[in-house]
Amino acid sequence: MIKNFWILLLGMVICTSHSFAQVQRFIDIEAGTYILGDTLSLDNPRRAVTLSHFSIAETELTNEAFAAFVASTDYITLAERFHNAMVFEPGLAEFRWLQDSTAYWRFPNGTSRGGIEDKMNHPVTCISYRDALAYCEWAGVRLPSLEEWEVASRAGSQTKYFEGVELDNIMDYANIWHGRNHLVADTTDGFLYTSPVKTFKANPWGLYDVYGNVFEFCEGSLVRDQGRKVAHARGGSWWCSKNSCASFNSQYIGSVNPNASFSNLGLRVAKKK
């Protein structure tokens, strides 16, 4: 019996070693009372929040992981059903996106702008909040709450960024947009759109891409929702620049229609510890 146990473990190691990147690691976050928010914010005021233990993925969910979900379930995303995904291409005015009926998670910016065949270790995008929930249900995980996400992203810091990050060096930690505007393509950091997860430096608790790559859906509601059906996402994305909204930090909370799919919106999963 003991021999069989070790054979199983060995088999697991062999099978996972060649595809380690696809294995989702989780960071344990201890129970405790954390200071969140900002004194000038109404939607996210400075406050103490008590949380129980939880675990949060060290990376954003990859195309590879989402592909496994689709392969297992034949799930069809909202963008595939309603052809309503929003995509970006250089040349658009600030905050302008295009609706592209061909776009969905396999072609996050539409078929004319390429697929994800060689981007399986990039975060999945072009999925809606409802698609994210479907994935979580299948995988036995969940989205982090707005508070959990902020605790994990701050990693003990009480400022807008986790320790070590300022606006001047955030590009070392995040795949963001470096151009003055979005009229011209920006590949300063080597990536026009998403980058492979874990390309940039992690925060002190080991979470990657907290302020860049893709915005991450969270659970929760805000006063400003006023009862409307709104999904919220946090962090920052490859689209974000310091000259636009500068929304890549631990404080701001974005909003989007729960049925909308954008090529800079993805997720990072969480679970009870």
Partner: protein, 288 residues
């Protein structure tokens, strides 16, 4: 559509579960199926088991910050046109509350059909576009720091549509009926004595520089609406008016270090400067 994880492995850690689904070779599967190993699998499940816990929030914000509610409301308030309003609202309800058979509330469809849109008169289309944006938008640039609004001239307008923006069809309507839309906006503003953020957005969308004299007269009669000054500057920026592009104001609001939260301090001198500059821009445009 979305199949569930079998109950026997529903609490299995994601890493192990994914790996079991995708990368197990036949040898391991055979081992896994052995009855004797089930005990060890259960042990693994226990090792990675979840602990029930729920978050509790305890607000202890001691901030003395308070939002200028009245000013903020003015910045985000839309003007609702009266033309065929009941008919248009009823039409919007038919899309907003459509139940999707797969459980999604509105299926991501936020637009009336092409036939419905075509059936509306010009004035009704104007109402539709002014009260309902068809396209999804990410609302990430929410300037939260909305105190002392009356003392600031912001670089950008707020939005009245929250997580939505005009679709191409709606933008095409505005551009295709530019003269008529400008008249309707003017007529409505004169009547209601206010210019909602949706009207300002429409003026920008159409690049309606011809409305500059009207906007200036509106500013003189509606002192509390500082966003009308923002609108003038955005029109000058859109037209790349040389005098404005070289100004200190431009650098501060739209220069290399500016972002969507940038603002000028409001004072009468700044108001006069912006209006006079916009008048010169208007003259330059009319002479061309």
């Amino acid at each position: 559509m979305c199949s569930m994880i079998p109950p026997s492995v529903s609490s299995f850690p994601l890493t192990v579960y994914s790996y079991l689904q995708q990368t197990f070779n036949s040898t391991v599967l055979i081992i896994f199926k052995e009855k004797t190993m089930r005990t060890h699998v259960l042990l693994l499940i226990l090792l990675f088991g979840f602990i029930n816990a729920f978050a509790q929030s305890n607000e202890v914000d001691g901030s003395s910050y308070s939002r200028d509610e009245k000013g903020y409301e003015l910045r985000t308030k839309m003007t609702i046109p009266p033309y065929g309003l009941a008919k248009v609202k009823k039409m919007i309800e038919t899309i907003t509350f459509k139940e999707d058979p797969l459980g999604s509330s509105d299926g991501g469809i936020e637009a009336i059909s092409a036939t419905q849109f075509k059936s509306l008169s010009l004035r009704e289309k104007f109402t539709y576009v002014m009260i309902h944006a068809e396209l999804s938008q990410q609302n990430c640039a929410i300037p939260e720091y909305q105190n002392d609004i009356q003392k600031r001239i912001f670089s950008q307008l707020e939005t009245g549509f929250n997580e939505a923006s005009w679709s191409q069809r709606q933008a095409d309507f505005l551009m295709g009926n530019r003269d008529s839309v400008m008249k309707l906006i003017q007529e409505s503003v004169v009547r209601s004595k206010r210019m909602g953020v949706n009207y300002k957005e429409a003026i920008l969308e159409m690049n309606a520089w011809e409305m500059i004299p009207f906007i200036i007269s509106y500013i003189k009669s509606t002192a509390q609406d500082k966003d009308a000054l923002t609108l003038l500057m955005l029109l000058m920026k859109r037209g790349e008016f040389d005098e404005f592009m070289k100004s200190t104001s431009y650098q501060k609001l739209y220069g290399p270090d500016a972002n969507y939260y940038s603002f000028l301090n409001y004072n009468k001198a700044n108001e006069v400067l912006i209006c006079e500059r916009a008048s010169r821009y208007y003259k330059e445009k009319t002479l061309k």
